[in-house]
Each structure stands twice: as C-alpha cells, then as structure tokens.
C-alpha cells in the first residue's frame, strides 16, 4: 500500500520535475550544437511559471477542458507506468491524452491551429501502431503485458528486441516533436508552421500542455528503459544515449511533409517490427 502511494507521488510530482529538467538539458544541448550558449537549465520551469501567471485567454470552454484532460491523461499514464501496470492500458491512456490535445486545437477556428491538429492526427496515426508493436514484442518475449516482471528479467530486452527499440525510436522522435517529424508543432522558430497545434493555447493552458508534454517525455523514456530494466547503470546509459541521438537527429535534419512521414515510418517501422516479431516467434 505504501509502495503504491509512493509510486503515485513519484509519478505525479517527479514526472514533470524530471521532464522539465530533460527539456532544459535538451535546450542547452541544442544550443551547443548550434554553437550558442543556450538558456539556463531551469528555463522550462521559468517558462511554465510565467505562462501560469499570464492572463487567461481561451477561444472556448472546450479548449480549456481539453487542456486539462490532456494533462490528466498523460499524468495517469505515467502513474500507471510507475505502478508497473499493463503496457496496453498505459498506451491507450496516453493515446486518449494525445487525442484530447488535438480536439482542443480543433475547437478553435484558427487555420494554423486546424492545420496543426490535422497533422498531429497523422502523427498519432503514424506512431500508435508502432507503440502497439513494441508492446506486442515485449509480450512475446516475456509472456505478459505487465511491466512488473521486467526488472528481474535476466536478459535485457534489447538483446532480443533490437529492431523494436529502433521502432520505439521512431515513435519517440515523433512524440518528442523532433525534426524530421515535428510537423504539427515545433520548438524551433525556423519552420513553416511553428506552433501549429498549440497556436490557440495560451497562458495557463499553454503551460498545461507543456506539463503534459513533460509527462509524455518521461513516459516514453520510461518505455526505453524497459529495454534494459535489470541493470540501473546500463538503463541510464541507454536512456541518455537515446535522448542524445534524438537531439542530434533534431539538429541535423529538416522537417519533412506528412506523406513522407507516414510512408517512411510505416514502411520502416512495420518492416522492422515484423522482422523482429518473426525472429522472436521462430527463434
């Protein structure tokens, strides 16, 4: 019982704190890759606190409702993860959050918001099957969708599911809104549609979407950690290396269009998943 309570608290409070720090490190690293100094590490927290103190401007009630639902769903997904719950349940909770964010953007008539929302739907369409395949791969290997048994699994999943880890990398790149898949909204100002999806979220509601994004970041890095769950040091190295690759890819690639994204991600992702699943099944 105490363990459950501790997990819930860690998920609810530790999640965004860690997510904000990761986001701060990301911004510094990105700046260094562009030969700039970059903001302080606490910058994402300053941004969110500032947004929280701004005037509330909403297009309509649905937008505010959707922003709250997005944060709630992502927070629940992360708490479920820390409770070592069912992978599929976590994935679907996270998907509900993602869809609420889109519905919130669609509730405004701004063309930027609308285009961003449609692109986000295509992004969800691209990465959701991949995440399900990753869960299926973990099921085939361990015989359960539960995360609970993974930390005592004797062989790291990465050895058996290397291709599925790459597939998870695609989903991670889309979900973290990194180039070349940052179609719907971006952290950088050099795109044709910069804030897209988030155009009409402002002030406290933009802060909510940012906090939701932190929850999602930690959740997805958590998925990565499952691939080497029996050794803390190896797990940390795996996560840091993965995140560094994400930042690197973000900085060396340009945004592509949705047709390319859907074609490429499905072709590569589904092929790699199937190869890995067949290998698991036969071997």
């Amino acid at each position: 019982m105490t363990g459950t309570a501790v997990s819930i608290v860690i998920g609810l409070i530790g999640g965004p704190l860690l997510g904000g720090l990761v986001s701060g490190l990301d911004r510094i690293l990105t700046a260094r890759l562009q030969s700039r100094i970059g903001p302080p590490m606490w910058q994402p927290f300053y941004d969110v606190v500032k947004l929280w103190g701004k005037e509330k401007v909403v297009v309509n009630v649905w937008q505010a409702f959707c922003a709250y639902c997005y944060v709630a769903a992502t927070a629940i997904a992360l708490v479920l993860f820390f409770l070592k719950s069912d992978l599929l349940l976590i994935l679907f909770t996270q998907a509900v959050g993602a869809v609420f964010l889109v519905v919130g953007a669609l509730s405004s008539t701004s063309p930027f918001s609308q285009v961003g929302a449609h692109r986000e739907l295509l992004q969800i369409l691209s990465y959701e099957p991949l995440l399900v395949f990753v869960a299926v791969g973990i099921y085939l290997e361990t015989g359960s969708f539960k995360i609970a048994g993974l930390d005592t699994w004797d062989e790291p999943l990465l050895m058996k599911l290397p291709f599925l880890f790459v597939v998870l990398g695609y989903a991670l790149t889309i979900k973290l809104r990194k180039s070349p898949f940052d179609l719907s909204t971006s952290h950088h100002a050099h795109q044709e549609l910069v804030k897209g999806l988030l155009t009409d979220y402002s002030g406290p509601f933009l802060a909510l979407t940012e906090i939701g994004h932190w929850y999602e970041t930690i959740l997805l890095l958590g998925f990565c950690s499952l691939f080497w769950a029996n050794n803390w040091i190896a797990m940390m190295i795996l996560i840091v290396a993965t995140y560094f690759m994400e930042v690197l890819i973000d900085n060396v690639s340009a945004r592509m269009n949705w047709r390319w994204m859907l074609g490429y991600v499905w072709a590569m992702g589904l092929t790699l998943s199937l190869v890995n699943l067949i290998w698991l099944y036969v071997g």
Binding site: R27, A31, Q34, S35, R36, I37, G38, P39, P40, Q43, F45, Y46, D47, V49, K50, W52, G53, K54, E55, K56, V57, F112, A189, V194, K195, L198, T199, D200, Y201, S202, G203, L206
Partner: protein
C-alpha cells in the same frame, strides 16, 4: 511567495513577437541578429515566437501608417497581459525621415503605449538587447506588470 516566483519567471522568460511596420528591414535584420549565435538572446530565456497569444514582448520597427495601424493594434490586443512594447529605430520612435509623408501617422506610441524606446538608424543589436532588458524591469516594479493602457 508564488507572486514573487511568477514575477521572477516573467523577467527570466520573455517571449518576443516582432512586428515590422513597413520598416526598411534595417532594424529587422538587427533584431534577428540578436537571435544568432553571436548575441544568442536565448541565454536570457528570450524566444522569438510568431504568435501574439504566446508573446510577452512586442518589438515594433518602422513607421506606423494608416494601413498597418489596424494590424499593430490587433497584434497588441491579442497579446495576453502582462505585456511590454519596445519601439526600435528612429522610424518606430517618431516616424524618422518619413514622418512628413502623407500616409505616415508617426511613431508607434501614436497607436499603442510604448514602454521602451530604442533609438538608432538602424538600432544596434546591443542596444536592442539593452532596451529589452531595461523593459523587463517594468515586470519587477509593479505587481501585475503593466495593464493595457487605454488607446
């Protein structure tokens, strides 16, 4: 305590919106120069946003005329409080060499309230950064920053 935290965060994270009121682009190039690795204003947490609903700072360059007056007003109105306006360059300050032209209204302060004036033709990037950091003091001085002025 929370108010103090918000006040500090406002100073630490001003997101700027840049609007070019028919400027000759001299000042605009200097504004964009602030974002390059040489000056790197992201050090101060400043991000160039393209969306007035996310912005805290409005940087205006160029003269205001009867055409872009409405656009400027609209952008200013769309920014949620608290907000700051920084006028950059001679034209934005007073109309500059165009002030006698038949279509020119004059400086930015004829249309919206201006907090900081950065002179120059064009204004230097150092002066722009200086002006913006000077403007941020407005956030620390009053509790709620500055409320929107009457037009």
């Amino acid at each position: 305590m929370f108010k103090k935290l918000i006040q500090k965060a406002r100073v630490k994270s001003p997101w700027l919106l840049h609007y070019d009121c028919s400027s000759c682009n001299g000042c605009d190039i200097e504004v964009l120069a602030c974002l390059t690795p040489v000056y790197d204003i992201e050090r101060f947490g400043i991000i160039n946003v393209g969306n007035p609903m996310h912005a805290d700072l409005l940087l205006v360059t160029g003269t205001v005329n009867y055409r872009n007056r409405k656009v400027l007003l609209n952008l200013h109105d769309q920014m949620p409080d608290p907000k700051l306006v920084v006028a950059i360059g001679s034209c934005a300050l007073s109309g500059g060499i165009f002030r006698e032209a038949y279509n020119v209204i004059g400086g930015v302060d004829k249309v919206i309230p201006v907090d900081v004036y950065v002179p120059g033709c064009p204004a230097k990037p150092e002066a722009i950064i200086d002006g913006v950091t000077l403007g941020l003091n407005v956030f620390t001085r009053s509790k709620e920053g500055r409320k929107t002025h009457a037009r």
